[in-house]
């Protein structure tokens, strides 16, 4: 029997499974067939798990005994930095070759409790450092819509897996845009929760004050379903918030969308992106939203703040990879040489670059000028957002990325050029706020239609309004 997975959503799948139109195994078989046919070319997966049939069987039992929930039997891909006990995991790095997760991430537990089916672990930029998945130690993932182009990063494998119909949904992580930017490059929905909304326990840490786990899906509704399943306070992650931490306002009758116009029209933004962005705003306006230009004087410094704070936290978080407790161990003359060789050989180029940059901004003599300053400016950016939201703005809109998916190899020679791809997404991580990227149309380049994304950012704790407007907007495109 033929299941059309291209238009499938979580609710549709759930209804069909309830009505026994198909079984969980029927569903996973379709996705596995797609993987077998196309993943050799796309390379979304680092590993397709070998026990999918058993997982499907267990999920089917929940349907048979009436305990199935929305996510039961839904095929998921997990980014290679999320721990699933007993399974290989490695942040796409050679330094973790052979490492087997000794425990489940909290998000893994929550998905497992519902009976989700884990299809495999997806490719990513090594230790989540990158915007193209070209920094993986295992080769890049290709964009399913144009295989000469990148899928974005660092959750490129997860984005490609959803866009290529290898899974119905994927989990990624977002430190500076690593869910939203690949979602926009691949024409799907990508969502980053409020900082602290989802537990980071079991996510390999990159920037602990910036990281959040979130879903990549075909629809906004699917993203919301998954967010509701994975969110929650967790005693294993003391940066998680409570339901009541942020006051949630009721959904407004008339939505006011703020646009930091000067920021969105900065040099380097593709004219096609701006054209599409303005078309999106027009659609929203015609549907009853007010579009209001706003000033955010500190927001242009967000990327600079990010590239001080993030490398600083990276240099600290990756100190644990020393060849002692797990993973690769290279042997030198003395113990200290073991560390130097293990890390020098085990980490890739971009990882080494960011560790050294982070070491610099934290070092004596520079700590004050760079790191301490960045913390202050970070606060000022947060205040810009707070001021806007306090003045009657409900969400802030920008394009997700300054351009569509670029060609593989196009930006690998100039690290700073690559970093600029995150200019619109890092703001949400810097300000701790939730943000969503929704497919907003296409630009034709070289005869291929490349997806573009609209990004909406909301106040702390107000994911609701992002999902509400997102659902309306995706119908207009």
């Amino acid at each position: 029997m033929k299941i059309d997975v291209t238009t499938l959503t979580i609710r549709k799948a759930h209804q069909a499974l309830l009505k026994k139109e198909f079984s969980v195994k029927d569903l996973t078989d379709v996705y596995l067939a797609n993987i077998n046919a196309h993943d050799k070319e796309i390379h979304a997966f680092l590993e397709v798990f070998d026990d999918i049939e058993a997982q499907a069987h267990a999920a089917q039992k929940k349907f048979d005994d009436g305990t199935a929930t929305l996510l039961t039997g839904i095929p998921f891909a997990m980014k290679d930095n999320m721990l699933i006990k007993g399974r290989r995991v490695g942040s796409a790095s050679k330094i973790l070759e052979g490492y087997v997760a000794p425990y489940n991430a909290t998000v893994t537990n929550k998905l497992m409790d519902e009976g989700a089916v884990f299809i495999g672990r997806t490719n990513m930029d090594e230790f989540a450092m990158g915007s193209s998945t070209e920094n993986s130690a295992y080769g890049p993932t290709k964009n399913p819509l144009d295989i000469t182009r990148v899928p974005g990063g660092s959750s490129g494998g997860s984005a490609a897996a959803v866009a290529a119909n290898f899974v119905l949904a994927a989990i990624g992580s977002d430190t500076g845009g690593s869910i939203r930017q690949p979602a926009s490059f691949c024409g799907i929905v990508g969502f980053k929760p409020t900082y602290g909304a989802v537990s980071r326990y079991g996510l390999m840490a990159m920037g602990s004050s910036l990281d959040q786990i979130g879903p990549l899906t075909k629809t906004v509704d699917d993203a919301e379903i998954i967010f509701n399943a994975i969110k929650g306070n967790d005693p294993f992650d003391s940066t998680t918030i409570m339901d009541a931490t942020y006051e949630r306002k009721p959904l407004p009758k008339k939505v006011v969308i703020g646009v930091p116009r000067k920021f969105t029209e900065m040099e380097g933004v593709d004219p096609a992106v701006l054209k599409n962005f303005n078309e999106s705003l027009k659609k929203l306006q015609e549907s009853g939203c007010e579009i209001r230009d706003i000033e955010m004087p500190n927001i242009p410094y967000s990327l600079a703040v990010y590239y001080v704070v993030m490398p600083a936290e990276v240099s600290s978080n990756l100190a644990r990879f020393d060849g002692v407790k797990y993973g690769l161990r290279e042997s030198g003359e003395k113990l200290i040489d073991d560390y130097r060789l293990t890390r020098g050989k085990g980490f890739g180029r971009e990882v080494r670059r960011r560790i050294i940059l982070g070491t610099y901004v934290l070092s004596a003599g520079y700590h004050d000028a760079y790191y301490n300053k960045a913390i202050k400016v970070r606060g000022l950016v947060g205040n810009d957002f707070k001021k806007a939201f306090d003045s009657g703005i409900h969400v802030i809109a920008t394009p997700t990325s300054p351009g569509p998916a670029f060609k593989i190899g196009e930006k690998t020679n100039d690290p700073l050029q690559m970093y600029l791809a995150d200019v619109f997404t890092v703001t949400a991580n810097i300000a701790d706020i939730p943000a969503i990227s929704i497919p907003s149309g296409f630009v034709t380049v070289g005869g291929k239609a490349l997806p573009l994304g609209l990004q909406l950012q909301g106040p702390l704790g107000e994911e609701d309004i992002l999902f509400e407007i997102g659902r309306k907007f995706e119908k207009m495109v």
């Binding site: 490492y99 940066t239 073991d338 060789l341 070491t359 610099y360 000022l380 690290p415 700073l416």
Partner: protein, 93 residues
């Protein structure tokens, strides 16, 4: 612009063995990167304290310890070298 010896000092602090070529590359790359991030120097001003949601230290309750050895096998399974329940490394002193 940073000197090679500056890069070497940083690599030493970070316990990273890198090639001469990479040291030179980093020296050049950092020129552009540090100029870009250095723009934050232009901003002055104090953001004040975060009203809601400020991160603060949380200590686990000193209670309900796990049984000795409960996780040892799982954890040691990942160690590159182990012996008698210890992770084995080269001599430290």
């Amino acid at each position: 612009m940073l000197e090679i010896k500056d890069i070497e000092k940083l690599a030493d602090l970070a316990r990273l063995e890198i090639s001469q070529e990479e040291k030179e590359n980093l020296r050049n790359e950092f020129d552009g990167i540090l100029k870009y991030v250095g723009e934050i120097q232009k901003i002055s001003g104090d953001p004040g304290k975060k009203e809601v949601g400020a991160v603060h230290n949380v200590m686990r309750d000193d209670a309900h310890p796990h049984l000795p050895g409960e996780f040892t096998e799982d954890l040691l399974a990942n160690a590159p070298a182990s012996q008698d329940g210890y992770i084995k490394v080269k001599k430290i002193l």
